[in-house]
Structures are given as C-alpha cells and as structure tokens.
Amino acid sequence: MKDSKFIPEGVERCPFPRFITWLGFLGLILLIGIIAAIKILWRGLGVTGLNNYFGFGLWITFDLAVIALGAGAFFSGFLRYILRIDELKNIINLAVIIGFLCYSGAMMILALDIGQPARAWFGYWHPNVHSMLTEVIFCITCYLMVLTIEYLPIILENRQINKSPLCKHMAHNFHVFMPLFAAVGTFLSFFHQGSLGGMYGVLFARPFVFRHGFFIWPWTFFLFILSAIAAGPMFTVLICSLIEKLTGKRLVEFRVKELMGKISGILLCIYIFFKIIDTWAWATGVLPKMGFTFDQMYNEVYGKWLLWTELGVCGVVPAIMLILPGVRKRSFLLHLAGILACVGIVINRFVFTVQSLAIPVMPFDKWHVYIPNWTEWATSIMVLAYGAIVISLSYRYLPVFPQERQLN
C-alpha cells in the first residue's frame, strides 16, 4: 500500500485505491454542498426555502440535532475522566471525533444560516447577557476549541507524526491534562445544551415552546441537557457499529457498547419521565393561560403523531429497552433502541424549531408549512460527507480504537 507507513502498526486497512474511491465518492457529495454554499453566500438566503415565518428551518433543526447527538463526546469524557469509568477508554476517541465533527459541522451551517456571516463575531463584541443565544455562541465556540484540543493528541499519535519528539511529548502532555479539558468541556457543553433549550423556552409569545422554569432557566433548559446526554452515548455506539459494518472489523468490545446503552437507558428514563410531566403541564397549564388548547397546536401536517412518536415509540420504548439487561445484551435490540432514541431527539428538535413557527398565534392568521429546498439539503448533507471523510481518514491513519488489534 502506498500509504502503509502512515497506517497504525499491527492493523489492516483496505487497499489504497479502494480508499481513494471511497473518498472520491464522499468528495462528490461534498462538492455539491460547496456549490450550494457558494450560491447561498453569493446570492443570499433568498435562494433557500426559508421565509419570514420560518426564519429557522432545516439548518437549525440539523444544528440542534447534531449538537445533541454529539453530546456523547462531553458526556463520555465526563464519565471517563471525571467519574473514572475506565472501560470507556475504548470508545472515547471516537466520541471525541464525533463531537468535534458535530460541532464543527454545526458551525459551518451557522455560518451559512446567519444573514451576515462576516458579523458572526459580534456575539463576543456586543453580547446581550439576557439572550440565551449569546450563551450558545460563547459555549459552542469555546467548546469547539476544547474538542480541537481533545482531538489533537489523537492526530499526534499517527505513526509518522509521533516520530517527532516534540509531537510525541505534546501528545503525552495533552493526555495528562485531558481530565482538565474534559471538565471544561463538560461545563461548557452542559450550559449550551441547556441554552439551546432555553432559547425556545423563553419565547413567551410562542405557545408551542414557552415554558416556566427555575430562576432564569425554563424547563426546556434542563430537558435539552437530559435528552442530549441520553441520546449522545447511543449515537456514538451507532457510529461505531456503522464503522464496524463498513470495515468488517470488530473495533470495540460489545461489553463497552452495552455499558453505553445502560448509561443512555438510565438517562433516557429520567428524561422521558420529566418530558411527559412537562408536556402534561404545558398542555393543561401553560396553553390554557395563553388562550390555546392542546388541539390547536397540531394540524394535518404537523400532527399529534409527531408527539406520540417522540414520546412513545422513540422515547418510552427505547428507555425501557435500554434499561433491561436482557434486551441490551442482544446486539440488534441494542442498536434498534439506539436508533429510536436518536430519532426521538431529532423529532424533538424539529418540532421545537419548525412546528413552533408553523402554528398561527394571531387568531386570524393561518398555518404555514415549511419545505426546505435543495440548497439547504445539499449543505446539510455536505456536513455529513465532511464527517464521513474525517472519520474515514481518522480510522485509517490514527489509532482511534485501542482494542482493534486484540479483537481482530
């Protein structure tokens, strides 16, 4: 293989031409996304499917979803480095890479989503301390830096790079200080996961999302944290299994995945318990005070099926599945529960972002339907392609999975 000296010792990788073909395929998807991105930056957001009613659409849903699913990075880091659950060392590298991709991908999308990307830094220069979005801007950018620092030692461990004494020592020292970065990451991530929920909960003139809460934090603040840390670990497991399927290798012991499933299951149970109480309190308390009924929040497009799917099929069901050891032990059921949990979180972020804006608040207004166009889809898929490229390169050239040699 042309690149064999870069591949970690003792592991096998697919032939170089096949790898390049795979990268070429992903690159093509990336290219379509880049064309769409250039069109958007050149001609403005008028080329997207967004409008004055749906100022938030596919992109914000996508961002919120990937940030929630990327929570596996900070939460696994917290469990591994702060609570010292040693078994997680076998999957923590992947969790960090996924976290990095989710956050950097979200930043790319945000750069397209805001009307004046050149002014993005105003969040630091003219911060409004009352805005949840300010806190999101602070924490997301800072946490991306933390994730970069966490990703760096994995890159420095590449066989060739690690030959340099400087890189070797840097990698070693980064590892020594990793608990500190994990703690900083946990703090930042906790807050912005919450603020993303708080962003909606404070909208006191939007009946679908407004919530009361504790001190300055609406209940959505806590629910978004809980849902992210519940789904994040299972998303890491799903990506790990997807890589295993594509490469035909065992990379992480099933026991570790089971443990991640157990962690997700417990958190999902706590989350879904509070989410159901929150939904009930919203339907019977918040809405009537605003003059609305529960039925008014749904129509034939954004129907109640979304709520039942989110809370039931993709909430209660995976929560129960994941806390049952017998179910967790079966690979198929573990993965099915993981997929359901992740879909549930995506639906949650979707309804908070899009459905909330579709509902007519003024009695003489009407429902609107949002349909994203190709530019939004292409750029969102571009981020997925970017993620797949970085994971492919990392898997091929970096020692991401400590158990790979032992398991194959």
């Binding site: 009613y53 009307g115 409004n128 979005l133 407004f210 009361h212 003059g291 003024m362």
Partner: protein
Amino acid sequence: MSGLMQIHHHFKVKWTMVIDIDKCTGCGACVVACEAENNIAPSPLPFNRLRSIHWLIIYKLTNGKEGAAYDEAYLPRPCMQCGNPSCASVCPVVATTKDEEGGIVSQIYPRCIGCRYCMAACPYHARVFNWFDPVWPQGMDKMITPYVSVRPRGVVEKCTFCHHRYQKAKEEARAKGKDPLKLEEGAYIPACVEICPTGALVFGDAMNPKHQVSSLIKSKYAFRLLEKLGTEPQVYYLSRRRWVREMADNHIKKQKKQEG
C-alpha cells in the same frame, strides 16, 4: 403570561398608535406611504408576502358568516412596539432594544447578524428579513428618503414608527426652546398616520393627557392584539363590533363563556 426573561420598561413618553378598525377601508394607502417613507425597495417576489419586506400589512378579518350576516374588517398591523418586547431580550448582539424615551423598539441594522431569533420570538410577524439585495429601478433611487438608512441583504428590519420623524420633531422642539419630551399633538406622526384618508389611525403620547390617544386607549371598545401573552403592545385597536374584538386574542370555550 409571565416569562422568565421578560423585562418591563417604563417611560415618561409612550408613543402609541390607535387604529379604529371600523374606520379602516383596507385601501392600503398606509402600506404605500410606509414603504415610500422607509426606503423599502421593490421586492423581486412582490406577491410572496413571506419573502418580501413589509413593515405594515393589512389583514382581512371576516366573521365567518354568510349572506346578510356576513361582515368583514381590515386590521392594519405595524410593529406593536411592545412594552414587554419578546424580540429585544433574545437578540444575542443587542441589535434591537427598548431603551429610549417614547418606547419605540429600535432596530440597529449595522449590528444585526441576521440570526432571525427575534423573528421567531415575535408572535405578530412584525419582523421581516432582507432575503435579497435591495434594488431600486433606475430613477426610483432618487426618491430615497435621506433620513432613513437603507438596509443590506441579510439583516432583520421592522416598523420604527418612522423614528426619523421623531428625531426631527425633537430637534425642532429644541430649536424653539421647548421640551422635546413634551411634544404637542401632531408634532410627530408616522407616515401611515399622516396618509390615512379616513382618519382611522391616530398617533400620540399615551402618557400625555393632552393627546387624543391617552383617552382613546381607555375606551371600552379599545383592545390590543394577543394581550394574554403579556407583550403589552403600544398599538391599540378600536372596534364597536364584538366579533372583531374577540378576534384579537385566543380564547378557549370556558373563557369565552366567562367573558360573555
């Protein structure tokens, strides 16, 4: 509703608009005056309200009945300049504020990053986004109002109660040695109020008993849009027709009975 992030503002001067729906014919003169005064460029999608710029729009309301019982009304909707604006507290970059005497919610175009969070927060859809570059047909650019800044693509904008006219009125008052916070009735009125042929729009300082609006807002026929949400608009409506007043807010059946 009481929100966690609500900030209540109190001013000595409160510029208030009172719109008598029963006098409004829906002619649209106010919309045209607003757009000419505030340098709103012709939209590339003029028939798509969701993608074009309008600071003031007119809703047609009907009582849902047929035949002789049918009735309709027109409801012009500028920015409500809420006393408790849902938009200002959420802006991450302080590009929209409620901090000036008069209570007009500002919009600082050079600072807006175009995140559209304020649009998501506003239940009245008073905020619009510049989806396209503003382009004026040749010659029309000569009609641009010099006191109103033009806005670039990618920022949010909204009705400002023709704030430049307020500035001008205050300057004139100062020049005459008068108190700019005690403007006489009619010294400052937005373009839409000035043009309205039926006098359906009345404008003034609700805190000044000499101004007509201070008594109009106390009328038993006066109401505001979505009062239950607690946004406390500075725009009031008048209608002697009960069905019109009921359409201003959401009522569940039980509340309807109590209110009836």
